[in-house]
Symmetry: C2
Subunit: 207 residues, 2 copies
DNA sequence: TTTAACTTGTGAATCAATTCACAAGCCTTT
DNA sequence: AAAGGCTTGTGAATTGATTCACAAGTTAAA
């Protein structure tokens, strides 16, 4: 299969969100133009994005809302449960642990890990906090699919190396660090400082 | 000035991070190739990124670390203080309020706002939580530069419209919603669900 | 001085993403 | 059954980003 651009996947994700709204309101069909308006893009872009995966629409009519939603869930791999562990039981870890969007989309948080003995044994928004020491063992046993990193920047690469060695293939990183991973491991980084500096740049360089 | 791509600005931000490490270690110069390796890109990319803003290096030698760091701070608009308010004093708001990276880079959090009377009057990690009702008045008086949105998705657009009307030109959005704003308003959205679905896609569509 | 080893800055070339534009298909009305 | 109004799917064209490749400048050593 041809390599799909990251930007395309993000848009598919957005389309699915809109489709779910329409599903809830029982609207039967939607056109590429409607999806485009909602997503701030163009109808050609919407059709091109979908065309990488097949042709799901009816000329003259548009797309069946439930059918397209189903297809997108399939494409995005949302038909199954993904098991997630959070490493770092700080404020960000806590915020993520209570985030409903996780569960809603089939992401189950198994546990959080921390090295702080104060936190271990307690729960974080109902999720057990375990000792980081048992991480490797637990990965063997529970086979999580995704690791969310909310550790300090200095530790992020070390933890990443460790979970990659244990077989993890997908990482969502909130640590402010540039991480390096093998090509077969998907890493997404959310870097607040970078976003803020993007805004600072935009405010500074206005024509 | 020619339009600078978002990806370029993000890389500049990354380069600055590396330069600060080198500054701390008092290394006097650095080459585009070293920066590239750290940032997971190529030396040509580094030089091209910088070339949009001038020529800061010395052939045969590389870049003076403190000079280039200074230039990048200038380009990114980090020479001044940016005033930030957080709207939504929930878990994510709390996580952001305590995030040290903010202050470190000259972003001062003035206040958090919430509609929940329970929270108003208290503090969030040392930051006062104010009634959302006084937001417009406070924006007039304190003139914040950046608004961070951590409200529920359904409310995000309404709050955005409101702060835009009050004159805000930069918004960092954590609500899972597609926001629409006038062209002269910079909006950056951090959408956890989208990142997770990106990982789900990557795990699903592995060749 | 001359030479060798580096490294920048930048047009040109390539690669990638987006937009255009239109034939082809579907539905409704007459 | 024909016409009119929509809307898709997709090659082609365009626009944008990245990579190539090399002249030109710098330093250090001989």
């Amino acid at each position: 299969m041809k390599r799909i651009a990251d930007s395309t996947v993000r848009r598919l994700s957005a389309y699915l969100r809109f489709l779910e709204d329409f599903e809830a309101r029982a609207q039967p069909t939607i056109s590429s133009d409607e999806l485009a308006k909602l997503g701030g893009t163009t109808s050609a872009q919407v059709r091109k994005d979908l065309s990488f995966f097949g042709s799901f629409g009816k000329r003259g009519l548009g797309y069946s809302v439930p059918e397209l939603a189903g297809r997108l869930r399939e494409i995005l791999g949302l038909g199954r449960e993904w098991k997630v562990v959070i490493i770092g039981a700080g404020k960000i870890g806590a915020a993520l642990a209570q985030y409903r969007g996780f569960r809603q989309r089939g992401f189950t948080i198994l546990a959080a890990y921390d090295s702080n003995r104060e936190k271990v044994g307690k729960t974080l928004e109902g999720i057990p906090v375990r000792d980081i020491e048992q991480l490797d063992r637990d990965i063997q046993r529970e086979k999580p699919d995704i690791v969310v990193l909310t550790v300090p920047g200095e530790e992020a690469q070390r933890v990443l190396d460790r979970v990659v060695r244990a077989g993890i293939k997908a990482i969502l990183n909130f640590a402010p660090a540039q991480l390096h991973a093998p090509a077969d491991v998907a890493v997404k980084t959310v870097n607040m400082a970078m976003e803020l500096e993007g805004l600072s740049f935009a405010l500074t360089n206005r024509e």
